[in-house]
Symmetry: C2
Subunit: 310 residues, 2 copies
Amino acid sequence: MSGATSWSSSESLASWRPGPARDAIVGFLRDRAALATAQRQAVFDNDGTLWCEKPVYPQLAFFVHELRQAVEERPELGDRAEYAALLGNDHAAVGALGLPRIGMALLELFAGWTPEQFAERSRHFLQHAPHPTLGRQFGRAIYRPMLELAEALRAHGFAVAIVSGGGTEFVRAVSRELYGVEPEAVVGSFVGYEYRTGAAGPELVRTATLDGDANEGVAKVLSIQQHLGRRPAFAAGNSAGDRDMLDWAHAAPGPSLALLVDHDDAEREFAYESVAGTFESDERIVDVARSSGWTVASMATDWERVFVEG
Amino acid sequence: MSGATSWSSSESLASWRPGPARDAIVGFLRDRAALATAQRQAVFDNDGTLWCEKPVYPQLAFFVHELRQAVEERPELGDRAEYAALLGNDHAAVGALGLPRIGMALLELFAGWTPEQFAERSRHFLQHAPHPTLGRQFGRAIYRPMLELAEALRAHGFAVAIVSGGGTEFVRAVSRELYGVEPEAVVGSFVGYEYRTGAAGPELVRTATLDGDANEGVAKVLSIQQHLGRRPAFAAGNSAGDRDMLDWAHAAPGPSLALLVDHDDAEREFAYESVAGTFESDERIVDVARSSGWTVASMATDWERVFVEG
């Protein structure tokens, strides 16, 4: 009896339309018997792969939300160039300053916070703040087909982890609730902490700097080894920052699947392209996917439904 | 009906003799109902807490084993001061050079290895190499009472992780087999990797340097947040390098338990002391434990059996 008979794909991947993407997923799940338990590691990018990243990264929206509150209490903060650009919705200034510099400035808002304080505010934002255009909360702008896929992988013995370029702690705040993923299986860009001891007992508080590199590109491959300790046989992503991770999983020994989510659905979500991320090239990531033998999931074509219930 | 009635301590902690240590464990497990699922994180040190670290750390024994093989092929390696000190069993020279410097030199033996190669050789060593005095393999010189404790914690909904000062990858090589702990729940001192791409496909290989600090002292608290993302309500350790982690768990909100294994059993294992690790102090860690309100597990008094079956 083959392993595939224990699983009815029509139940588990209900939001996936018949087609090559769905066939590739079902085939990979069927072939899993060739993978030892230790090889059954699946990794998902988060922004644009599990939740919507347009027109703004949810984490950036949260940071701006917190910035507005901070400026109410301390108006002088609004004069800082990075903050003024954001608060004025000044796209030119944001572009000139660059998102990395602005992100570092925003980290300062949370310096001195405990992990619990940060998680609580993050969670509250994702649960309640409305997405600007989708008529639902940010925390409900998550892709139903991808949740079904994660669930099918788990049902087939895979450990499912999130490997995000975003902040580890922001994703962890909701990873169990939204994705069924425990905090130790969330790997992202990690803020540094300071451990303080004193009369009130030990305390762990955020600093305003990242501990290590932003978790994009090759850093994702390295952080997978560091945190998860296993080479993934499955990876899903959507952007240039996922290219190395997708290559790494695709070339794993035995059955493997590298899945690229193509944002080609302007009607139900957004239509946009990610370029492949080397300075020598302006390849579209979807072209890289095709030439690399990855599987492309077209949001417009392959997904019967895009989002979870709102 | 209280939560405690679902668990018979006499079944699960069979190697623990009645006494205050066992009472503290049973009491902590009974009180777990006050902890939310997210708070049920348990962390164990490894060397001296889960496996025997005397007369030599198993990882150091493995490194020396590999060094001997390397010197057979490349005799000139034997002239290097750090290696000559080890191979000549020259305690004075080892002491003068210091274990950190020697450890860094030994890391060079494995530069260019893949994670799989390193794991395979580590596993083979731990399975087959005899402990110098205990009449069993290194991989069987593990403490039965601590395995029972880890199992009891899991049975009560705790996630169990290993937070070691030793090499992450060395412990991961056997963590599932010896302890039932998955590789992503092993946090230790982490070697850097290099990601190479080429005609033969992508490859991840070890470098000869650590990525970050050695995982001792405050680094353990920080790495718990980074890797596990939860403050532990339970920690077990045995040495000065565990002090901060034990403090951190002990002061966690709600029921908590910080457990120190006291190596006071020269007959069945080894009798030795760890000093508490600040330059101003030569406190014994067991005295720190008592003044801090941690629970001390005396190997001689509290453990009916020390090791798993040989």
